[in-house]
Amino acid sequence: MNRGVVKFRFWGKNWLQSMGVALGGGFLFLAVYVIGSRDFSGGVGRMLLDSFQVYPVYVFLVGTFVMAMYGVTWFQTYYSVFVSLSATRREAVVGIVVAEGAVAAGLAGFMAAFWAVIPGGGKYLSMMPLVTGILFVVASFAMVLGVAIVRWKKLGVLLAVILYGSCGMAFGITLAMTGDDSGAFRKLQVFDGTALWPVLLAGAGVLLYLLSCVFAVAAMRRSEVRV
Amino acid sequence: MNEILTQEKSIYIQIKEMIENDILRDILLEEERVPSTNELAKLYAINPATAAKGVNLLVDEGVLYKKRGIGMFVAAGAKQQIMAKRREHFYDDYVRSLMAEAARLGITKNELIAMIRDN
C-alpha cells in the first residue's frame, strides 16, 4: 500500500538517525576510553582490539539515552502534527512506538552481530538476553513518558523527573554494589546460555514494551490536539 | 467584462448585466462564444455557481444559448432583445428615482423637462 511505503520511508529516516547517533556516539565514547586507557602492555594493536570489543557496550549506553530522548520527543514533535494532518490517533501512536521498538531491536541486533563477528567477541554474547531486556525496558519507559508528557503535560513532566531520577539512582546503586564497570561486565560474562533469568528479563522487557504500546494507544485515544 | 464588482447588487445580476453591456457595446457579437462560468469565476474570483446563475438567467431569456460540449453563445438578435428589455425597465431603473429625488428637492415636472430639453 502506497501509504505504507511512504510511512516506512519517513520512519526509516528517523530510525537511521537514532541508530546513527547511537553508533557514532558510542564510537566517540570508545575513542575517549581508548585514549584514556593506559594498558599498553600487550602492544597498541592488542589494546585497540581489546577496547574495540566493548564498542557495543558504548553503543548500548548511548543507545539507551537516544531511545529515551528521541522516544519522548517523537511524541512531542510528531504526534499532534500527525493528527492535525488527518492521521488517526492510532496510526500516529503506532508509528512512534513501532519506530522506537525498531531502534531497540536494531541496537540489540547490532550488538549481537558485532560480537558474533569480531574475534574474541563470543564471550560477550551471553550478555545479549540481559541487554535486550534492558533495551526494551528503556523503550517502554520512553513511550510511557512520551505519552505522559503530551497527554498530562506538567504532571507528565513531574512523572518523568521522578521516574528518571529513581532509575538513575537504582543504576548508580547497582554499579556501586557490583564494583567497577569492567568487574560488572566480567561477572555478567559468567552467565552462559543455561542461566534462565537473563532470558526471562529479555522476555519481560519485550512484554513491558508491548504493554507500553497498548498503554500509549489507549491513553491517546481521546486526546485533544491543539496545533 | 472586466468591470469591478460592487456590493450594490447581487453578484449574479452584475455578471448578467456585464455580459449584456458587452453585447450592447459589440464586444460580444452574435453567435460568438461567451466566457464559461469557470472562466468568469476565475476572472472575478467568485463562486462558479454564482456566475452560472447569471449566465442561466440570460439563457432563460434567450439572450444566450447553450451548445452542448462547447459552451454558451450569443443568440441572434440578442442585442435588440437587450435594448428592448432595458427600454422597458428604463422608467423603473432610472426615471422613478430621478422623479423621487426631484420631488424631494421641489423641482417641478416642467423644470425637469426643461433640463432634459436644453441639454
Binding site: 502506497n2 501509504r3 511512504v6 510511512k7 519517513f10 520527543t73 512531542q76 514533535t77 510528531y78 504526534y79 499532534s80 502534527v81 500527525f82 493528527v83 492535525s84 494532518l85 488527518s86 492521521a87 488517526t88 490517533r89 492510532r90 496510526e91 485515544r221 481521546r222 485533544e224 490536539v225 491543539r226 496545533v227 | 464588482l5 456590493q7 450594490e8 447588487k9 447581487s10 453578484i11 449574479y12 469557470n38 469565476a41 476565475k42 472575478y44 474570483a45 467568485i46 463562486n47 462558479p48 455557481a49 454564482t50 446563475k53 423621487a100 424631494r104
Partner: protein, 293 residues
Amino acid sequence: MSKLTGTGITKTYGTNDVLQDVSLELESGRIYGLIGRNGAGKTTLLSILSAQNPATRGTVTLDGETVWENPQALSHLCFSRELNPTSGNGMTAMKVKEYLEIASVFYPHWDREMAKRLVEEFHLDVKKRMAKLSKGMLSMVTIVVALASCADFTFLDEPVAGLDIVAREKFYRLLVEEFNETGRTFVVSTHIIEEASDIFEEVIIVDQGRIYLKENTQELLERCVHVSGREEDVDAVTAGLEKHQEERLGRSKGVTVMLKPGQRLAAGYDVTVQRLSLQKLFAALCGEEERHE
C-alpha cells in the same frame, strides 16, 4: 454526492460549552464560508468535523460512516489549521520540508507536483524552520497543505492571516481554480469577510456555540436590507419585520431588516433602502448590541 454530517455536536471544556447541539450538513462540490466572532466556536467545530478533536456529545459521519478514528473517512478530510509553532508544541524545530513530507504520508491523494508548484509560487523556503516563519508564510504553508491534500472536504481556518492583499487575491483565485477543476468542497473560516464573500456559495454563521444561520450567500444578501430615514418612516416601513442593530441619531434611524419569504417593505415612504455587504450584515447580526444576556 458526498455528505459530511454533524449531528448534535456539543463540546465542553470544563464548564464552558464551546459548542451547543450543533447540527449541519456539508455537501460535496460547494465552497462554504464560515464566519463568526472570536471564540464563537468556529475552529472547534472544524476540528470536530474533521475528527481532530473529540466531541463531548454528538456524531460526525461521512456518507453514513463515523469519521472518528476512521482512516477511510479521514482520507477524504483535511483541516488546515492556523499554525502557531512557537507555542512549544514540538513543531518549532521542524522544517517546512519535513512538515510537507509528513503531510504527504497521511494524505493519500497528496499531489506532490501541486505542492511543489505552490511552494515556488509563494516563494517559500522549505529549508526554513517552522518557528522562524512569519505569520504570512505560515499561512502560505497552510494553503499549500490544504490545496495539495486533494481532500474531498477541505477546511481552512484563517488561511489569509498575515498575507498582504496581493497574496490574498492570489489565494482566492487559486481556490476558485482548484474548485473549478475538481469540485472539492472547501470550508473557509475567515475574519476578512468582504473579500472572500464572493467565493462562498453558502455562508455559515456561528455565534456563541450555535449555528446562527446557514444559507446561500446571494439569497441571504437579497433578503437583507438596510433602511434609513426619519424614525417614524423607518418604523412604519419595517413594522412587523425582523430587525437588527437599530441605530439612532437625532431624528434619523437606521436599521437592518431581514425579510422572510413573502415579506416586503411597506411602500410609499421616503426612506433609503440599501443592500448590505456580508460583512456589514454579520456585524449587524452578531454585534455587541445583539447579545441577549
